[in-house]
């Protein structure tokens, strides 16, 4: 078999070998059962004492969400001011300037929301202080926020009827001490031994053979790159993200980074099943998500490996597949695999330029972000999936002649209302955002803005439309990758995507947690022969159909005008 394919199959298998036991471990950690990392307890107790947290205090779903939102607001305010005043603060050896307020607005929301859409370039846009104590710090806590929210959701279904869903702070702290911190530590070491810098010194320089002086940015990168993947953040240390030779020096580190971004989302699914003692349900969900992964990956692989038909027409041989925008050390297969996982999971780091992918690949990347729940981001992927599940449960419950129920709790008007709003939210943010951008581009191209709207797009036409659609989709999915080719560091894009990221982050956390909280508090109905089981292949198929149909119906016209039109035209 082709070495490139062997490489990605090995990567996938290794991911599962790590993720599945990790899921079982997480279920135990959050259930408070004995695990080998219990030696970290004193550290946690210290943190609780220091911050005055009483972890025995039980919270209902509203209190959980209040805690979650409060702490996120604190980080928003803190980060915003550091970003603006970073030039006046220490650890800025390269003398990078403070951010403009609109860029700071966008950047801080983006990092608090685990999105990491970057309208700045790491080398010249931020100081080491910002990288370490704002951005990397947020990469830890935003991932932990998502995981803690998911654990609250787990809690609602563990017991027959539950109103007390544990303590948010405990889940949050444990997500860091028992999961993110130890794994990041190991991964940062692997990266720094493989060539990623981890230094506090400023730019290095050398004189090239041509005689030019080349300034080489460096800094405390390895630790950030570790958490950027483990926490499905995706915000790179350097502007070129994981295509940068420091950020991703070799095929080996590429594998490590690929594995790192998938393990926690997969582990959360497994943990869900073990935590609520319904393993089969977890495997069913895992099955749907994995099939989703392959359905997006396989066509992308085939078009990337086949090469660019436009080049083929010119008689240029492309033995290695479509290489434009790709790194030679990774090749098209590993790049396609990366592009798939980074879009279905909300990482958004890139090891190749998605702008240069084949046009149909753009469709799959967009679709992956629109669905946003084939594994999905840390914790939040499962929450997104839950919304689809509620819709599937409702419709199929009716189809078998019973008031719909999920895990023994009746799904009624109130839950459907919340699910409906969340279902509505993504198409609204993505399509309305893109529509506003298109409208301004078409009608106010010459507006006297700092960056004129007509100069936003590198490639007007269908591809330019895809660039705008991609930016909004990535923001809503809290993915953070860019199609690039879009002039995005300006007032319009900073503000619009900032708002989309914010709404696309917090409403899809509030919604599922609220539904779970409401359902969990309802009377438990024991299963009978008439009960629709949610852990069967048939129901998995139903959920898959709901995911596919809902997304296809919402986005088909937009996709038709973007990547599909491009594909059929060329």
């Amino acid at each position: 078999m082709n070495t490139e394919l062997t490489g990605i199959i090995a990567t996938f298998l290794l991911t599962m070998v790590i993720a599945i036991p990790l899921g079982k471990y997480l279920a135990k950690v959050f259930a408070g059962e004995k695990v080998w990392t219990d030696f970290l307890k004193p550290l946690e107790t210290g943190i609780y004492k220091l911050s005055g947290i009483n972890v025995k205090e039980q919270m209902n779903w509203k209190q959980q969400l209040k805690a979650l939102l409060t702490i996120n607001v604190v980080w928003l305010v803190y980060g915003f001011f550091v970003l603006i005043f970073q030039n006046k603060l220490p650890f800025n050896p390269d003398g990078n300037p403070g951010m403009t307020p609109d860029l700071a607005f966008n950047t801080i929301i983006s990092f608090v929301a685990n999105c990491n859409l970057q309208h700045y370039s790491g080398e010249s846009g931020v100081s080491y202080l910002t990288q370490q104590y704002v951005l990397m710090f947020l990469q830890f806590v935003s991932a932990a926020t998502g995981i803690a929210a998911a654990v609250v959701f787990f809690k609602a279904f563990r017991d027959k009827t539950a109103t007390e869903l544990g303590n948010f702070w405990e889940f949050f702290v444990k997500s860091i001490t028992r999961l993110l911190l130890p794994l990041s530590f190991v991964m940062a070491l692997i990266l720094s031994f493989n060539g990623t810098p981890a230094s506090y010194e400023g730019k290095d320089q050398f004189i090239s053979l041509q005689g030019d002086t080349v300034h080489v940015s460096r800094g405390p990168a390895a630790q950030m790159i570790a958490i950027k993947h483990l926490g499905t953040n995706g915000g790179g240390y350097f502007g070129a993200n994981s295509a940068h030779p420091f950020e991703n020096p070799s095929y080996f580190t590429n594998m490590v980074e690929l594995i790192a971004q998938v393990i926690i989302p997969v582990a959360m699914v497994i943990a869900f099943g073990y935590f609520i003692r319904r393993k089969k349900l977890a495997w069913t969900i895992f099955g749907v998500m994995t099939i989703g992964l392959f359905m997006l990956l396989i066509p992308m692989l085939s078009s990337e490996l086949a090469g660019n038909p436009a080049l083929a027409k010119m008689g240029i041989s492309q033995g290695t597949g479509a290489m434009e925008g790709k790194e030679v050390r990774f090749g098209p297969a590993a790049s396609a695999y990366w592009a798939t996982v980074t879009t279905i999971i909300s990482t958004g780091s890139v090891n190749s330029m998605h702008d240069s992918s084949m046009s149909m690949s753009g469709t799959w990347q967009l679709l992956g972000m629109m669905i946003n729940s084939f594994y999905g981001g840390c914790g939040v992927g499962l929450l997104n999936y839950f919304i689809y599940l509620v819709v599937a449960v409702f419709i199929s419950g009716l189809m078998v002649g019973r008031t719909p129920e999920f895990l023994g709790h009746k799904v009624e008007a109130r839950e459907i209302k919340i699910a409906a709003i969340i279902t509505l939210l993504s198409p609204f943010l993505i399509l309305a955002g893109t529509a506003v951008a298109s409208y301004i581009f078409t009608n106010y191209g010459n507006a006297a803005w700092a960056v004129q709207p007509k100069n936003w797009l590198n490639n007007p036409g269908f591809h330019g439309f895809s660039e705008m659609l991609y930016e909004m989709t990535s923001s809503n999915a809290n993915n953070g990758s860019g199609f690039e080719g879009l002039g995005d560091n300006n007032m319009f894009w900073n503000l619009s995507t900032g708002i989309v990221i914010f709404l696309g982050r917090f409403l899809p956390i509030i919604g599922p947690v609220a539904i779970a909280g409401l359902l969990g508090a309802k009377k438990f109905i024991p299963e009978s022969a008439g009960t629709l089981k949610t852990d069967t292949k048939t129901f998995a198929l139903m959920t898959f159909a709901v995911i596919l149909v809902l997304n296809a119906l919402s986005y088909f016209p937009a996709l038709a005008l973007g990547p599909l039109a491009e594909y059929f035209t060329h």
């Binding site: 189809m399 019973r402 893109t434 298109s438 409208y439 078409t442 109905i525 008439g530 119906l553 038709a560």
Partner: protein, 675 residues
């Protein structure tokens, strides 16, 4: 009453057609958000049609008018679906109401005189008198007397029933006929407020409230509609970006095709049809919710007698008193039963024949004594002076002891043993001397265990309620195949059982008729009161069964399930349809300026205009095509939830994807002939 099974009748269709237009009133339409948006779209198209006469850029006036017409039809079809469902329900209710045409009532005034009044002038609390041959003017409760009544006008059952004051069978229904005796009846409902009147109001829509499940589905459908509003509104700037002008007709057509009009148009018809199906089963429901809840029932409480066992028992043994020859005893038994037409009487003769006995005596010249509710015994007086009686233990004992004779203790013992074994003792006497006991045993209804099996597959647990002792109860429960039983049941036992099950989160249904059933009927999630039952029972339950048929609960559960399934499958079908509609309309929208998108025109439709027309036509006509299914309901099959989901997903999901591809293509071929 004969259920009317024809789906459409000319008169109904006429009313429904008229109603379809009346329902266009936006104040009515707004109750259905999906169809309301279509109505708005129709109005916009009317404007565009007029506009396109004078200005260009929005397509030809003819084309716009055509789209306007199809959209109007879509709304009308949806209204028609609702109207025809209402008309059917009303017709059904009317045929019930006909039984209570104006009848003169003999009202008993406070001073004791009798005044003749028309039935519709009767007020709640009035007392009237009915004698043999009278038609009962309105619903009421017997306060004095006992009578046999012909209820065939309501139930279709020809056998007369006994109704008497004080007991659990004290209710009489307007339109039924008194066959014997005289009763004093108190009017229980004010005119226009009987259960039937309430149900008619429910069907007619004025007081129809959406059920919780219907509300949830409406929310979901409304959110899909909103998604498609977003899709269509944003398409305008997208198209401007791509330099593709889109006509308003095309945008509105796309929108109307995408929103779930099929289910949106049929939703209320499905709900009404559910209540109507209940009514056809002769069950009056007090709310649509009750029918829906019936589909969710987990536990069914069933009375043994009449439900699980045939009300009639069969003779199984003869026990003569000590010292009496068995032959002589059987002879007396047979004599007493020769003229007895009841199934019990016949079974006694059968049993005697089985034991090789033939009547020795002759009945010539004998006088037969019929069973009455007073004496609770029957028999005959032969020409040679034998007075043979058979009847209930206590009534015969009274008779014997009144005549000053001793009632043998061995007979009393037999009576006890028979009773403890779940049987009914029938004591036989001659010339006021007790001869012995005939044992009657319960006979389990044929086919009942299959019905329980069916219920088990639906996930419904059946519980038998009986006054029998636990041993007998267990015996019958096992034989009939029920899952559980409550023996020696007192009314509060039923209540406690229901509460226990409900505490575990289960939904319980029960049927009852007595006043002492009322609390349990109210407690149960679905309480079906028999029409013959007391007013209290009927008030407490949420359904009334006109047939007084205890097995009706099983049908009610299926009707409830059917209702939900019909909603679910048509929702799936409606949404699945959109896939094909996209492939028809999206390429049609852009093909002029992006010829490459011709590749998406996988149905190879004639032209952009014909593609759009075909899609909206399909979208409109699918509604009337599905009306029969919405009214009849999608069949429920007890094959387990997962298998049922697989089946319905296959038929209505895959079918829903495929059908419009074929339908739109065929319509396009036809449209292509004219365009």
């Amino acid at each position: 009453m004969k259920p009317n099974n024809k789906l459409f009748e000319a008169s109904m269709v006429q009313t429904a057609l008229k109603q379809s237009f009346i329902k266009l009133d936006p104040r009515v339409m707004v109750r259905n958000p999906v169809m309301f948006t279509v109505e708005i779209g129709t109005l916009v198209m009317a404007y565009v049609t007029v506009y396109s006469f004078s200005r260009s850029g929005q397509g030809s006036p003819l084309y716009n008018f055509f789209i306007f017409l199809v959209l109007l039809l879509t709304v009308l079809f949806a209204n028609f679906a609702e109207a025809i469902a209402e008309a059917r329900g009303k017709a059904q209710a009317d045929s019930l109401r006909k039984t209570r045409e104006e009848t003169p009532a003999k009202v008993l005034l406070a001073n004791g005189t009798i005044e003749i009044r028309s039935s519709n002038q009767l007020k709640k609390g009035d007392v009237f008198i009915c004698v043999t041959g009278d038609t009962i003017p309105t619903d009421g409760e017997i306060i004095e007397g006992i009578a046999t009544i012909d209820e065939s006008a309501i139930t279709g059952e020809s056998a007369p029933v006994i109704r008497e004051s004080g007991g659990d069978k004290s209710s009489v229904t307007g339109g039924t006929k008194v066959l014997s005796d005289e009763i004093k009846v108190q009017v229980s409902t004010a005119p226009g407020e009987s259960f039937l009147d309430k149900m008619i109001a429910l069907v007619e829509g004025a007081s129809r409230q959406k059920t919780p499940n219907e509300i949830a589905l409406t929310i979901l459908l409304a959110s899909f509609t909103l998604v498609f509003i977003i899709v269509c509104v944003t398409l305008k700037p997208f198209a401007d970006y791509a330099n593709t002008p889109i006509t308003i007709a095309a945008l509105i057509s796309l929108f109307v095709c995408l929103i779930p009009t099929t289910i949106g148009g049929l939703l209320s018809a499905i709900g009404i049809a559910g209540m109507d199906r209940a009514l056809r089963a002769n069950v009056i429901t007090k709310s649509g919710k009750a029918v829906e809840t019936a589909g969710d029932i987990d536990v069914l409480l069933l009375d043994k007698t009449g439900t699980i066992t045939i009300g009639n028992r069969k003779a199984t043994n003869f026990y003569p008193t000590a010292g009496l020859n068995i032959k002589a005893f059987i002879d007396a038994c047979v004599l007493s039963s020769l003229a007895d037409e009841t199934p019990e009487g016949k079974s006694i003769i059968e049993l005697a024949a089985e034991q090789g006995f033939k009547a020795a005596g002759t009945t010539e010249g004998s006088a037969f004594i019929k069973f009455t509710a007073e004496t609770r015994s029957s028999g005959l007086d032969t020409a040679d002076g034998r007075r043979i009686r058979k009847g209930a233990f206590d009534s015969i004992r009274n008779m014997v002891q009144k005549a000053g004779n001793h009632f043998p203790s061995d007979i009393e013992n037999h009576v006890k043993t028979i009773a403890t074994n779940g049987g009914t003792p029938l004591v036989v006497s001659e010339n006021e001397k007790a001869l012995g006991v005939i044992e009657l045993q319960d006979i389990i209804k044929p086919g009942i265990s299959e019905r329980f099996e069916r219920l088990r597959k639906m996930g419904v647990k059946t519980v038998m309620v009986t006054g029998d002792n636990p041993l007998t109860a267990k015996y019958i429960a096992e034989k009939a195949g029920v899952d559980d039983f409550i023996a020696e049941a007192k009314p509060e036992d039923k209540m406690n059982y229901i509460k226990d099950e409900q505490a575990q989160g289960k939904l319980v249904a029960m049927m009852g008729d007595g006043t002492n059933d009322a609390p349990a009927l109210a407690q149960a999630d679905v309480g079906v009161a028999m029409n013959s039952g007391t007013q209290a029972a009927k008030e407490a339950g949420n359904m009334v069964d006109l047939d007084n048929d205890p097995t009706k609960l099983i049908e009610i559960v299926e009707i409830g399930k059917q209702l939900l399934i019909t909603r679910g499958t048509l929702t799936t079908f409606s949404i699945a349809n959109d896939v094909a509609k996209y492939f028809a309309i999206v390429p049609a929208l852009f093909i002029a300026s992006i010829p490459a998108l011709q590749s998406l025109n996988i149905m190879d439709l004639h032209s952009p205009e014909s593609a759009i027309m075909s899609a909206v036509i399909f979208n409109a006509i699918i509604i009337p095509i599905l009306i029969p299914l919405a009214l009849k309901g999608v069949a429920y099959k007890p094959i387990g939830a997962t298998a049922l989901l697989r089946r319905n997903l296959f038929i209505y999901g895959i079918g829903g994807v495929v059908a419009p591809f074929i339908g739109i293509k065929i319509i396009d071929l036809l449209v292509g002939l004219f365009v």
